[in-house]
Structure formats: C-alpha cells, structure tokens
Symmetry: C2
Subunit: 300 residues, 2 copies
C-alpha cells in the first residue's frame, strides 16, 4: 500500500563534532521516502529548484519512489545550514534559505489522491492541510512538525492536528506545544487537541508511544558511532509508516509497537553517516539483522 | 544472602519544582538499604551523629537491615542541601556539611566480614577500599561514585575500580571519567580500568549495561509524577544488588538484565515522593505489580 508524503527537499550543510557535509541532499520528505521505500512504494509531494540534480530523482524512481508530485520551480532549492554540538541532541540552525519553498503550492497528481496512507512531514502546517484537502479518504494520516511552526504557526498546526490520527514530534517540541515538562502529561494534552496516537521521539533515548492512555517506551539502538543526526526523525517516521502501510494492520498496540521498532532501526542506520550515505548501502537483510540486534539488546 | 553496604547517612534538604523537604532522612547507604531490604538482609556500614533519630535505626532493624556497622560519633550527621531544576536530571548542590563524615573510619563487625555481596555506595573511595580490605572473600563487589570523587580522588577511585566486579555510575560521570561522550565507548574505557560489568544510569532515560562487550538497554518506567529524584541511583542499585543476592545466580546476562529491571522498578517508586516516603509504603506485591507494568510498557 503506497504512502503519500509531503515535505521538504533540501540541500543541507551540516557540521557535527565528527565531520561536515556541504550542500548534500536532504529534506524531510526525502529522508522519509528513502527509509519508507524499503517497505512500500512512496508518492512524494515536494518542491525543488532548477539546481536540483536529475539523477537523484532517477535514483528515487528506481527505489519505488514516485516523483511526479515534486514541483520544479524557477529558482534555487531550499537550503539549510546547521550544526550539532558534542551531545548531538539538538541542531542549531545557522542559515535557512527557503528559496522555491516560499512559492510552493502542493498539487497532487490524480493517482496520489486515492492513497490510504499519508505522512505530513515537517513543513508549513498550511501546506500540510492543503495536501490533506486533496486526498479522497485517507485511512491513516500521520504528521510531524518542528519548533518553528509551534511558535509561528501554532493555530494552523492546531487545525492540522484535528485531522490526523498519529502525531510524531520530539521531546522538546512536545514540551513546547503542551507546556508540560513531563512527557506523559504532554502527550495527554496533545491528545486532547485531536490525534489519537502520539509518538514522542527522544533521539538517542528512544521513543514513547501514547495510544489513548496506554504507554510504550523503546530505547534507541545503542550505537558506538553517530556521525550526523540530521534526518533521524524523518527516517524514524519512514520506518514507522512503511511498516504500517506494508502490513495494512489496524492501528492496535501490537502493530504500532512493531512499527516503532522499525522506525528505530531505520533511524539508527541513518545517523551513522551524513545525508543518505548509509541508507543507500542498505538492503532488507541488513534491516532485519538490525531488528534482531535491537531485540537482543532489549530482551530480558 | 546478605549484602554489606558502605555509604552515607544524611539529612537532606531538597527543593524540586514539585515541592521541598527540610532535613529529611537520606544518604546513599540508606536509600540502598531501604530498597535492597525488600529482597535480602542488609548489613549497613555508615556513620551518624548524636542528632540522628534512634527510631529510624529501629525501623531499619525491623526491615532486615543490621545497623551494628553504623558508627555513632560526636557531632552532627552529614547534611546535604540541593535543588533540582525543571527537568530533574541533575542536582545542584547548595550546601554540604560533612560533619561526622570527616572522622569516619569504617570498622566492620565480625559477622559482616564473611558476606559474599558488597555494595560500595557513593562515598570517598578511600573508605570504599577500607571496607573491601576488611572483607574476607566477597563473591560480588559493586561500586558507585559521583562527580566529586572523579575530580578530586581520581587515583583512589581508579584503585577501587581494580578490585570490583560491577561499576554503577551515571551518564555524566561515565563521560567525565572516560573523556568519551558516546556511552558505549565510555563503558569500554572504564572496563579497561578493571570492572567486568558497567552499568550506566541514565535517569529518566533508563540504564545501559555493558557486560564484556554485550549491551543491554532498558528504558525507565514511564511516570506521570516525579517529585524528587534524590536517591534514584541508590535505590536502583538496591533493587539490582538485592535481586543478585537473593537469586545467588552467576552474573550472566540473563541475571544481570533481570536485576537491572528490579533496580529500575525500585528507583521508579523512590522518585514518586521525597525521602523514603514512597519506599515505606511498599510491599512485595506492589513491586511485582510494577515489574509487570514495566514489562507491559516495554513489550512488542
């Protein structure tokens, strides 16, 4: 079962204590699609400028990612520049050049509209809603966001939340949105805004699922080498949604928990290298191997 | 099988965002003993001043905690004053009055010396070694420490590490001692100093076990209400060592992992209230119930 994803396509310039990458491929829709395409076909909605490499679109097409929904506009592709300090837990944005993202109005190809699974990756909540309005009757809608939208487009984000099933956000965002420092209390408050299922991403500390009062906590995969956390949340969402769409199960605890484990697995690969470098080396065997390693590190 | 524990007995004055407690009972040996005594008899080695309440010693005696090894010296009991900010992850020490702790020379009662399980709770590493020297042939020696000793008694701490099996410390301490920010790398470096088994406590994020290269990660019990994290590490150690001594199993992965789960359970109770207030309300049924709840929150 395909997933429609809307989000950014970017050139990222990233500095971490372990290296740097200059204008490499990134963006929320891309990290998501790279991860989710191991599970199920993806239909991307995004925007690029004239400077975007055609061969990456071809690479995506060869990986079961439809790029018909990617608008190409006059101008440059969105560019983000950021750095991480030693603990890698939070990016500091150094520069944001929206470029073509400023003119972007998502228009979904006809064949996208009947899809049952939708992921609204981190992008302006107005755009997230414009995508939702073009979908016919999605079965599962999940959504991500960031601190910027919580501050500056809070009302629009709250409107989006009323229309989604699953909300994924990180610890700091959950605290910012809810005003609660305790994550369970934060999840309860966010739940009251609409989404039935809340997933709070905790970076190297794992993830917390709040499913109508029931809690699941999962540690991250213990890694000795982390190069770049950029895209960790999007690849987590990719593994998570990929499993949901592949299995087509109901959103019960068993399914959601297994989906979170796959999200954790995909994110753990992604942070081992810059851009999509590690994701490009993967195959299903490696994914299943890490799933078993994670299971082993968690079992008692 | 009894456990000998050496550590502090204190009056704590604590302020957290959720309340405050003035000169309440605390100290590393006490938190440890309160938790571990649910599993097995405890023999305490500590020091108190003339101001220490006799009825707490009687309370401990009634709970299977031998207090013969607690020296009563002229002067006041050790007093610690600290506060926690909103995220509760680290205490800021406001005042430390060592008082009788400055003159303390541990002298173990004869019947303590044959014990097979020893826990060197957070106290001057010189004192930890003095206790070890009085033990005949302990089978399992575990040790805790704090940032203060890592900075100021590093050499003595390194000497202690050569003689122990299990080292428990928190994330910040592991990074401080090893100079490595990644916890697996930190554990490897600490392992090279002597201890075969390293347990890194991560507060609300759980714990990591390094057992000669094999990794186990456990999330903390998800709590909606945390009042005071004081003693969390000591009660974790209490549940952990309590289970080891009760089961008398070899220190294989299965046993160590289960012991860490019991440590997590005991710490989760402790942080729900100030001082020993929550621990005093427990019975074995409540402990087993929370063990099952934790299992439920972790299962997939």
């Amino acid at each position: 079962m395909s997933i429609v994803v809307v989000g950014t396509t970017a050139f990222d310039s990233v500095q971490t204590p372990y290296g740097a990458a200059e204008k490499v491929l990134g963006g929320s829709a891309n990290y998501f699609s790279m991860a989710a395409s191991f599970f199920t076909p993806i239909k991307m909605v995004s925007v690029i400028g004239e400077d975007f490499p055609q061969d990456h679109l071809e690479y995506l097409n060869n990986r079961n990612v439809c790029t018909k929904g990617i608008a190409k506009l006059l101008g440059k592709t969105f560019h983000w520049k950021g750095q991480y300090e030693r603990d890698l837990s939070e990016a500091e944005t150094l520069e944001t050049h929206l470029n073509v993202l400023e003119q972007f109005k998502p228009a979904l190809p006809h064949e996208y509209r009947k899809c049952e699974y939708v992921f609204l990756a981190n992008i302006d909540p107005d755009l997230q809603q414009q995508v939702l309005e073009q979908m016919e009757s999605p079965k599962v809608v999940a959504c991500d966001t960031m601190n910027f939208w919580i501050s500056l487009k809070r009302e629009s984000l709250i409107q989006t939340l009323k229309r989604i099933d699953i909300f994924l956000l990180n610890e700091a965002e959950a605290r910012q949105l809810s005003g609660e420092s305790n994550l369970i209390r934060a999840a309860k408050k966010i739940h009251a805004c609409g989404p039935r299922i809340i997933i709070i991403k905790r970076g190297e500390h794992g993830a917390l699922l709040y499913n109508e009062g029931r809690i699941f906590v999962l540690s991250a995969f213990p890694l000795e080498t982390v190069q770049d956390p950029t895209g960790a949340g999007d690849t987590f969402a990719g593994g998570f949604m990929g499993y949901l769409a592949k299995s087509q199960n109901e959103l019960d605890d068993t399914t959601l928990r297994k989906a979170i484990v796959y999200g954790t697995v995909m994110a753990s690969f992604n942070v081992e290298d810059f851009s999509f470098n590690r994701l490009k080396t993967l195959d299903w065997g490696l994914i299943e191997q890490r799933y078993r390693s994670l299971l082993n590190a968690l079992s008692f």
